[in-house]
Amino acid sequence: MKKLPLSQMPALYAAMAQGGALYLPVDNAAGDAQFTRWQEGMELSRALNTVRSAKDFFFPQTENLVSFRMQGKTIEIIDPRTEGEDFVLFGVRACDARSFTILDKVFLADPVDSYYKSRREHGTVVTLACTRPEETCFCQSFGIDPADPEGDAACWLTEDALYITARTAKGEALLARLDGLLEDADPAPVEAQKAQTAAILAKLPLAQFTTRSFGGDVLMKAFDSPKWASLSEACLGCGTCTFVCPTCQCYDIRDFDTGHGIQRYRCWDSCMYSDFTKMAHGNPRTSQLERFRQRFMHKLVYFPANNDGEYGCVGCGRCLAKCPISMNIVKVAKALEGDVHE
């Protein structure tokens, strides 16, 4: 365990940004936290979490995959990738840190997504422990301890100091770079903070919420539940839940005609959209009920069934906060619980 006094934070940021980029949550024009490329003078947001999750850095909303340059009747294929820049993601919360594990299961499984892999390799994740969880938080339901986050390195902010410890080789390397700034620390204040946070966590409104009844073995029971109709009836079919979600990983691949050629890019897609997975014959899920069900079945049933019981949710609570009609995974899981249990 190392620490540095809070007065030294700008120096820490500068050191982290050395030789690459540092991204950290900074308040934007709307007053919300947003991962922003650090520049001299920027301060860490005091908000609990960012509106957009940290997944953008490994799986950006749009990404050019390949370009075709056309001249007259000739076509040239161009790989737009350049040698990526190393970067540090600082201030990632425990929930988002776990989301990378989930995304890895998708993108790093065979066949490996080389675009994702390259970004993953270039990034070092420095997490920050939560001290003031909010009512929408339920990461503990997935075995995440927000007071003791994962990541390449983990941090704790106390009133006077930042405590930091490395958890992986990448983390060790980062700490080695920061060595001049850090001093050895007694972990007692960190342990005290963990205990304090644990007490708050126990009192959260969703502290008892669990998804344990879901998984591959209740597939048909969950799928056939009559509750989907009423749960989905108010759904607007927008992509808010999907796009603020740290674990949603679906994308579409499209061509953009630039006038000089084609850029083939991928962009986030949402299973809530009516043209999701649309094929030549049309869309396999023709109603909003089916699309809505797909999203929650994927997170609660299909994903754990295929990934050793790991749910496709980390309990960050973004969808609870942002859904325009306040329908979310918690309401869905609670409503279905009876049907999958019986």
């Binding site: 056309m70 007259g72 009747k73 005609d257 006038g259 000089h260 023709t286 109603s287």
Partner: protein, 663 residues
């Protein structure tokens, strides 16, 4: 993928002098889809056209781009060329490299570069062209004329004269309209009845003309060449086929106190009546509002005296459905109501009359037998004040903003005739301007002033005050001498503004013909198509389109007839294939497109759609009638979902041109 041929024209040196035509042909040969590219001295010459035809056949071209003069010059030529070689004519696009390139640029490099870009845009467009075929529809060879005044009569006579059947729908019991109420006509002073009634008789006697008098149009469906119209024949309670028009019933009817509308209420008639002696059809009509038999079943005198047995108290409205190829609107005008002009005391004094009432008071068939007498006491008036522009050119909101056009001339006529017949009568005319733009009009006006001594005073009448002695005190200002005038008059005659007949507005809705803010029908083009409505197959005749005098009305009536004849003489109509088309899968049925369509080409239907899971949904969707659509494209932008597109100028085609130009 299209197989496109590019043909670059030199136009002698017109293009070749400032555009390197070979370079253009060479550059365009590398565009995707271009399989043939050539340049030639005169593409529009026979040899040039043969070059195109040969290339279409030899290279199996599916699209053709001609880089040449303006499409306004030779688009039709090249479309015919393509068609002659078996290619759909709408697979041809023109890049205008003469008027819009070679002629305006001196620098050959710049001109060449621009010509290539314009050519590329045309190539990009042709890639998205699809063969278009103009639709055809049959023509019902029968016309409908709505309104039986002089406009409608003249139109009907002219159409019938060309050999087509034509129906006149007139809401009054007789045709003839306003002109039957007039005494003399300016500037020749011939009697209105003498020149009109022979035409009315012609209508009645022409076998090709059918008159639906006392009838109204109730419903119009269909489109140019194919209208279906429902006509309501109002109950006259007299069998038209039996009535001989002897008029005995109109003398024996005990109900004598019915205001005589033909004389504008200046006298009375019976409950059963024939509006005037020369009425066509000359058939009696029972006024149900006054007939004792119809109101309370007590009377039956007319039935008793009618030897022809024509009276039928049980008659009801009849609905007749007819098909027409063309419709002429001739709904005419009315003087405005003068209730809101209190300053002229129209409502207070019977001696303040409108000009049309004055016509009746001077007409030999009018209530006074043609002797000019004051309505209040039947005495001869010695001083008459005419007030011009009552409600015309009035932006105060009480009247109409426009000039009613006919008042200057008929007031001069009234003034002159009064002075002629009653030289002891002083006549004053108050005016804003005197407008006499017509053949012999100014001469006529000057005669009124110079020969007949009519006092023309430029100025406004401020107030007409009825006096205890029965005279009318007219307060007015003389703007030229800048004096206030007080004239003690026996009569005041108001030149009321004229407005379209009230029946015109609902009729316009039925016809989807547009109107201006004053409820005059709008013409398809104010200069070049003055007798056509923007809605195909609807034509305009007379004052329904704007204020007009009789010669103008008759001229327009003839013009409308000639347009109708032109239409009816075709066996089928070939449309412009570049029309709007609605993608019903995308249509919301919101009616935005319908609202901006100037032609009424868009209608809606509730259509069943097969939805997922064997369900059916009924959705309201727009339908474009290609025979009516003129292809302006207003609907395509009004449509938020992009359901409406324009063939030949589709969204994708225009965007492809934009892309090609901007890249």
């Amino acid at each position: 993928m299209q197989r496109i041929g590019v043909f670059v024209c030199w136009c002698g040196s017109n293009i070749a002098a400032t555009v390197d035509v070979e370079a253009v042909a060479e550059a365009l040969s590398h565009e995707p889809g271009v399989v043939f590219s050539a340049n030639y001295q005169y593409m529009c010459s026979e040899a040039g056209q043969n070059l195109i035809k040969d290339a279409i056949r030899d290279h199996q071209l599916t699209g053709v781009v001609i880089c040449s003069c303006s499409p306004r010059m030779h688009e039709q030529t090249f479309r015919k060329t393509a068609a002659a070689a078996g290619l759909n004519p709408y697979m041809v696009e023109i890049a205008n490299i003469r008027e819009q390139c070679s002629w305006i640029h001196k620098d050959k490099a710049a001109g060449t570069e621009k010509a290539i870009i314009l050519g590329r845009a045309a190539v990009a467009k042709v890639h998205l062209n699809a063969p278009l075929v103009a639709g055809e529809s049959p023509v019902t060879k029968r016309a409908l004329v709505i309104g039986g005044g002089i406009a409608g009569i003249q139109t009907a006579l002219d159409i019938a004269d060309a050999g087509f059947e034509v129906d006149i729908v007139e809401k009054e019991p007789t045709i003839g309209g306003k002109m039957t109420q007039l005494d003399k006509t300016f500037p020749t002073l011939d009697c209105a009845a003498c020149i009109l009634t022979p035409k009315m008789v012609d209508c009645a006697q022409d076998e090709r003309i059918h008159i639906y008098a006392y009838s109204e149009v109730e419903k119009v469906e269909g489109f140019v060449g194919n209208f279906t119209v429902t006509i309501k024949k109002k109950a006259r309670f007299v069998d038209e086929t039996k009535c001989t028009g002897c008029g005995l019933c109109t003398e024996k009817c005990p109900q004598k106190k019915v205001p005589n509308l033909f004389n504008l209420g200046l006298d009375t008639r019976r409950a059963i009546y024939i509006p005037f002696a020369q009425a066509v059809p000359k058939v009696a009509t029972i006024d149900a509002d006054y007939c004792n038999m119809l109101k309370n079943g007590k009377c039956g005198v007319c039935a008793k005296v009618c030897t022809a047995g024509a009276i039928d108290y049980k008659q009801t409205d009849q609905h007749i459905e007819e098909k027409y190829g063309a419709i002429v609107v001739a709904t005419g005008y009315n003087p405005i109501k003068l209730d809101s002009f209190e300053e002229y005391a129209y409502a207070q004094s019977p001696d303040v009359v409108t000009s049309l009432e004055f016509e009746r008071l001077t007409n030999a068939a009018g209530p006074t037998g043609g002797t000019l007498l004051r309505p209040s006491d039947g005495k001869h008036p010695h001083t008459i004040v005419f007030v011009q522009c009552v409600g015309s050119r009035d932006t105060s909101g009480c009247g109409k903003p426009y000039c009613s056009k006919i008042c200057c001339m008929y007031t001069a006529k009234h003034a002159m005739l009064t002075r002629d017949k009653y030289p002891d009568t002083e006549v004053y005319v108050f005016y804003i301007d005197v407008r006499t733009p017509g053949k012999n009009f100014d001469e006529f006006y000057r005669r009124a002033v110079e020969e007949y001594g009519v006092h023309y005073i430029k100025g406004m009448v401020g107030k007409v005050a009825p006096q205890a002695d029965g005279t009318l005190m007219v307060q007015a200002s003389d703007l030229i001498s800048n004096e206030q005038l007080h004239i003690s008059a026996d009569m005041v005659v108001l030149a009321a503004a004229i407005e379209p007949d009230k029946s015109a507005r609902p009729l316009a809705t039925m016809l989807t013909a547009s109107m201006d803010t004053n409820d005059f029908f709008t013409e398809a083009h104010p200069k070049l198509r003055p007798v056509e409505s923007p809605t195909a197959g609807i034509f305009l005749s007379g004052a329904c389109q704007g204020p007009k005098d009789i010669p103008e009305t008759v001229a327009q009536a003839g013009a409308a007839a000639s347009k109708v004849i032109g239409l009816l003489s075709k066996n089928k109509l070939t449309g412009n294939p570049c029309v709007a088309r609605s993608d019903e899968m995308l249509c919301n049925g919101c009616s935005s497109c319908e609202k901006v369509c100037p032609y009424g080409a868009i209608s809606y239907e509730d259509k069943e759609f097969r939805m997922p899971n064997r369900t059916v949904a009924i959705r309201r969707v727009a339908k474009v009638n290609p025979a009516v659509c003129q292809g302006c494209g207003a609907c395509t932008v009004a449509c938020p979902s992009g359901a409406m597109d324009l063939l030949g100028f589709s969204n994708r085609q225009i965007m492809a041109e934009v892309d090609a130009i901007c890249k």
